[in-house]
Symmetry: C2
Subunit: 296 residues, 2 copies
């Protein structure tokens, strides 16, 4: 098949628009000098050694409202476990309880995974803890930053939020149909809006270095798969152990607000279901499934 | 406004096609002799005294795949709590774990309710127990049959299944977005297919009488609302008490299969979360969220 010069030139122009730096040389033809840090499926897949996450579809958006919303639609249509939905930008990035997640274009990672684990709905909180461990491990292995997990789903560095997790479930009473695990991770964000500046940070801010987002997402998928396989084959115990090492909450005095009620007391433990056990100041014990924690 | 004779005649023909028996009398005009037992919104609403269920939309289908599927779509689009979806027939009526629910046209009640309770996902099983109580109470008050609940979601008469409940959830880890409570209730079904004949029954078979389905669904909505309000205002305790009175499981020797594992032992209790507490034959206790029970 012969391709015209003009047709090649059109393709090259398209790549340049996407941020690829391509030189043309009279003798050698076109030379790729620099690839942009885009989260394109092919870029993510390159060198990815996972067997579940990212092996099937990696659905890419340059912009979407929320990767979790897109992933839910795909899962409703039967998309298999391991499907990855990624966007360069979210116009309606969501955190827990309908809160906003700041999602500027090409600065962070906004990615949702479809899970179809054979567990019952009361075990769903375990996947949030698993995700927190995977994110923390990916951050630690790439950046060497000190990372801690704030129960149930915030990843902190230097006391500030560097990543957040949003877990959504579709289930029958018996069995989970699917779980969507959304991650918002601040990678190369240089600065944040006034209302969150005090509480938010990014890898760039903490390390002074730009990290290729492709490398970060690949490491996340790798760590996710590692812990997800441990969960499936061995159980939750090893994940909980690692979670506790990474968390700063056990033994701490906290106030936690959950489904309208507020409790203040000392965290006794995270039990084997991932549920927080709080002893309030009157000595009464509470099992808390999820909620907003204020460290005292 | 004047309406032509021909236009009126067309409307009357349409009603006759739907099963209305209408006589025409030269002097008096048209006389309604008999209304068919259809679950049309207007028929259900007539005399309905509820404030939540059936006060807003009652979405009617003469045929659909599954009322739960339709209700989920509506809930995804923001349909409020109390929305009722009803169909005369289901072509793909579903029970737990993708099992089929026999749904012949105009013989049973196939109805789904949208709930948006302010509870956390681990409390969802409570709504299945609540639904079982509402169904049992409606059956008892109308038919005087002896009705029992088989944990978690079957309603039995004379040892046979007369109704089934399918609960589906959309949730974040923190909070339930919505719950769909589907009910399949055999009302005027004269007979069942071979494969379920031994285990299935209907109000007609048990009482020898045809009950208007409209009356049955109205009673169900009334009972549902009663218990749902108790749940919201007082809590789960009174519902659990009534559930235990109606259930035949406590103290019984059973085998229960849940998420791939099987346990045999004696039922100690249903705890305040609606979870079954089983002491197996080795003396070990198990908390069982949901599963298939075989009474021994």
């Amino acid at each position: 098949m012969s391709v015209s010069r003009a047709a090649i030139w059109k393709h090259i122009q398209k790549l340049r628009e996407d941020g690829y730096v391509i030189e043309s040389s009279p003798k050698k033809g076109y030379i790729l000098k620099k690839a942009p840090d885009l989260l394109l499926s092919n870029e993510i897949r390159e060198g990815l050694t996972t067997e579940i996450f990212g092996r099937g579809d990696i659905v890419y958006f340059s912009e979407t409202d929320s990767t979790n919303t897109r992933a839910k639609e795909l899962a409703d249509q039967g998309a298999p476990e391991g499907t990855v939905v990624v966007s360069e930008k979210q116009t309606d990035g969501r955190g827990r309880k309908g809160r906003n997640w700041f999602s500027p274009s090409r600065e962070g990672i906004y990615v949702s995974l479809i899970l179809r684990p054979g567990i019952s709905p009361d075990e769903a909180p375990k996947t949030t803890l698993l995700t927190a461990v995977a994110v923390a491990e990916a951050l630690i292995s790439l950046t060497l930053l000190k990372v801690s997990i704030k129960w149930p789903n915030d990843i902190l560095t230097n006391g500030k939020k560097i990543a957040g997790i949003l877990t959504e479930i579709r289930a029958e009473i018996d069995a989970i149909d699917y779980i969507i695990v959304g991650l918002g991770l601040n990678v190369n964000t240089p600065d944040f809006p006034d209302d969150i500046r005090e509480n938010a940070t990014s890898i760039l801010i903490e390390t002074g270095k730009h990290f290729p987002r492709v490398t970060v997402i690949r490491e996340y998928l790798k760590q996710y798969e590692r812990y997800y396989k441990i969960f499936g084959r061995i159980g939750f115990e090893p994940i909980l152990t690692r979670w506790k090492e990474l968390s700063n909450i056990i033994g701490r005095q906290i106030t936690v607000e959950a489904t309208g009620t507020k409790h203040t007391g000392q965290v006794q433990d995270i039990d084997r279901d991932g549920v927080l056990i709080l002893k309030d100041n009157a000595g009464k014990y509470h099992r808390i499934f999820s909620g907003d924690v204020i460290l005292m």
